[in-house]
């Protein structure tokens, strides 16, 4: 909290007005798309084998925000998912648990009940997820609702319409307000992840600006996508965000987390992301506190690879639990 408060002070001049905010965001060094894509592809050719792969697979499992965000979600489904989160591989007690379960706000209580004191967090998508098209007070009520139900983490969406029409101040103020709504009565605060929906922001320049906007407004995490819009997370977009959190720490001393979400399905892809975390943001981010995967099917892929590393055999999907 103190770090966030001081960051608000640090950038008080910048965030004072729409004009100064725009000047700052548009004054950030540009991103050359071809170069960024090439860098991400280059890191993707790293060859991660044997001991490095074992380390990466376990870390990736610990970083998963196991997600179900469907209209058809029921308490039964959420309880099943929560059990899976605590014991991803029932056959292997050495398998680590995932970081969090990510659900809609009305399912928070159910998830919390099952997860209890397991250490697995409950993340809730709030603020009129996924479109963010609602009045601010409704978004805030949505957030408070989830926090009161016991959510440890809030995944909010920004107003992409406001961002794309250049109303940066509005986006900034909303993040600040949601951050305040994350406060609990005991003085603590739910962690705030800010979703940009990079598939709608489209340009890397926009992704960089959104990253700085959210970090200055007090985000604990910046997150690529809702998973409801294509393209969702990509390596280059995550690269831009990792550069942003790295540069932000250099300026402020504050670390911000990064969460790519949606579209990461294979263990190989997950390892590519970890290589990028390692080489772009640095090894400090190689921790579930600072990097997450928003995913559902990814977990079983990681488990299958993990089993293959320990047993030398590759077994089929029937040997892993659905949820």
């Amino acid at each position: 909290m103190t770090a966030t408060a001081s960051n608000l002070d640090l950038y008080a001049e910048v965030t004072r007005s729409e004009a100064s905010l725009r000047r700052f965001l548009h004054g950030l060094p540009g991103v050359d798309q071809v170069g960024a894509d090439a860098r991400a592809a280059g890191l993707g050719t790293r060859s991660i084998k044997t001991s490095a792969k074992v380390y990466a697979l376990d870390l990736a499992i610990r970083m998963v925000d196991l997600t179900t965000l469907e209209g058809q979600d029921t308490p039964g489904k959420v309880r099943a998912l929560a059990s899976k989160a605590m014991r991803p591989d029932p056959a292997d007690p050495s398998c680590p648990q995932v970081a969090a379960v990510c659900v809609y706000p009305d399912m928070v209580a159910t998830a919390k009940e099952t997860l209890d004191s397991s250490g697995v967090h409950v993340a809730a998508v709030a603020t009129a997820f996924p479109s963010g098209r609602a009045a601010l007070d409704i978004k805030l009520a949505d957030t408070r609702d989830a926090v009161e139900a016991g959510a440890d983490e809030i995944d909010m969406v920004i107003d992409r319409g406001a961002f794309l029409s250049g109303r940066y101040q509005q986006v900034f103020d909303e993040i600040v307000a949601v951050k305040q709504a994350c406060a609990r009565s005991n003085g603590e605060s739910a962690h705030l992840k800010v979703i940009f929906e990079t598939g709608e922001l489209q340009t890397y320049d926009n992704v960089r600006r959104a990253s700085w906007l959210a970090m200055m407004a007090g985000a604990d995490f910046i997150k690529t996508s809702t998973g409801k819009v294509q393209p969702a997370a990509t390596l280059p977009v995550t690269l831009i965000m990792l550069e942003a959190v790295r540069d932000f720490r250099e300026q402020t001393g504050t670390m911000i987390g990064v969460k790519p979400a949606g579209g990461i399905r294979t263990a190989k892809d997950a390892i590519k992301y970890l290589v990028m975390v390692n080489e772009i943001a640095g090894p400090d981010w190689l921790d579930p506190d600072w990097f997450r995967f928003g995913a559902s099917t990814l977990l079983n892929e990681l488990l299958m690879q993990r089993t293959k590393m320990t047993t030398g055999r590759y077994s089929g999907p029937d040997y892993f639990t659905l949820d």
């Binding site: 060094p29 991103v31 170069g35």
Partner: protein, 482 residues
Amino acid sequence: MGSPFEYAPAPESRSIVDIKPSYGLFVNGEFVDGHGKSFKTISPATEEVLAEVAEADEADVDAAVKAARKAYDKVWSKMPGRERAKYLYRIARIIQERSRELAVLESLDNGKPIKESRDVDVPIVAAHFFYYAGWADKLAYAMPHSAGRGSDPQPLGVAAQVIPWNFPLLMLAWKIAPALACGNTVVLKPAETTPLTALLFAEICQQADLPPGVVNIVTGAGGTGQALVSHPGVDKVAFTGSTEVGKAIARAVAGTDKKVTLELGGKAANIVFDDAPLNQAVEGIVNGIFFNQGHVCCAGSRLLVQESVAEELLAKLKRRMSTLRVGDPLDKNTDIGAINSAEQLARIRELSDIGEAEGAGRWSPECELPQHGFWFPPTLFTGVSQAHRIAREEIFGPVLSVLTFRTPSEAVEKANNTPYGLSAGVWTEKGSRILSMANQLRAGVVWANTFNKFDPTSPFGGFKESGYGREGGRHGLEAYLR
């Protein structure tokens, strides 16, 4: 920077390539013994002897030139372009099929990382043969309005080609593909430290049933090269290498009617303006000078950075350099491989020591270098001025000299203030500035917001002491036609 994420070694297997204990010369479609003193080629990463290679003496060179002449007179110059094209397409496809073999052998003999030989060198080699295969039956369109020539350009005859050790197979492709497409035959001499992929290419010529004598490969050192370029039976000389040797070749062929193209040294300026995409510029700087251990004639060895962003950019550059992985060229995660030879390593050391003695600030990231072989850490020098030798002389190693400028005109003046003029880089988000800089820079290639990008369709060559003539693209045909 210690990381819990230590990449385990991921070596590419060398069992794919079958290195013979000794190699002869490739003359008239066959491997024959050389009459010079055979020499050993080693892996610069381990100093392990890879093979013994024949040295061609004057008589061997003469035999190769005669074979090339015979093939030119009897077969190749008479063959319709569309038939020549078929051979070139076939060679290109075999190169693709045997790409892993070629990449492993290139990395073993040269010391370059497998990710570069695999992802850059060999694919561009195949692309060059495909590209020029396409030209072979369209030469009339290449130079439709040449004075006195009408629209029926003719080959020159026998081309003597001498190539360097930094891109052994790629330089071979740059030389052989356009020569053959135009109807010339060739005698090529690879560098003495890196002959193996050229000899494997000879096998590929056999595999492609290329008529004997169309491609001849003679191995050896400077003496062999000298015998080749001064041979009276040669119609065309093409050389890539140092400016010093290039001048000697120009002297040797002066007064003859041999056509010459020279692609020589460079001391390229990589110019970063304050409105540049800085993170990508850092990548471009790294790629510009540390690609292929800096053994690149067009390397961006002089970084010119606008003073207002110099500090920020250097901090980013140093952090990036700390993540470069130096080591085993065959490890797929290696970014920087071995220096090609003890001789080259000595030169890099000497010039770096001079840089330090002249007062420039030397910096390298912490990195462990292997015990055996030839290694030099990625290095940058700050506080360099135009008067320093490291700002003027080509180091041909992973050593970057950093200079600053205040205005665009100062950047142009400094960039052009060199006897060389092979390439330059401009980093800015402003399109109009890119165009104005490109017009003012005296360099054969100007890259904008990228560096060290090569494509067979794009001409490449130098200004001033960086040589003359162009290779690649339609322009590359002109050097092999009359």
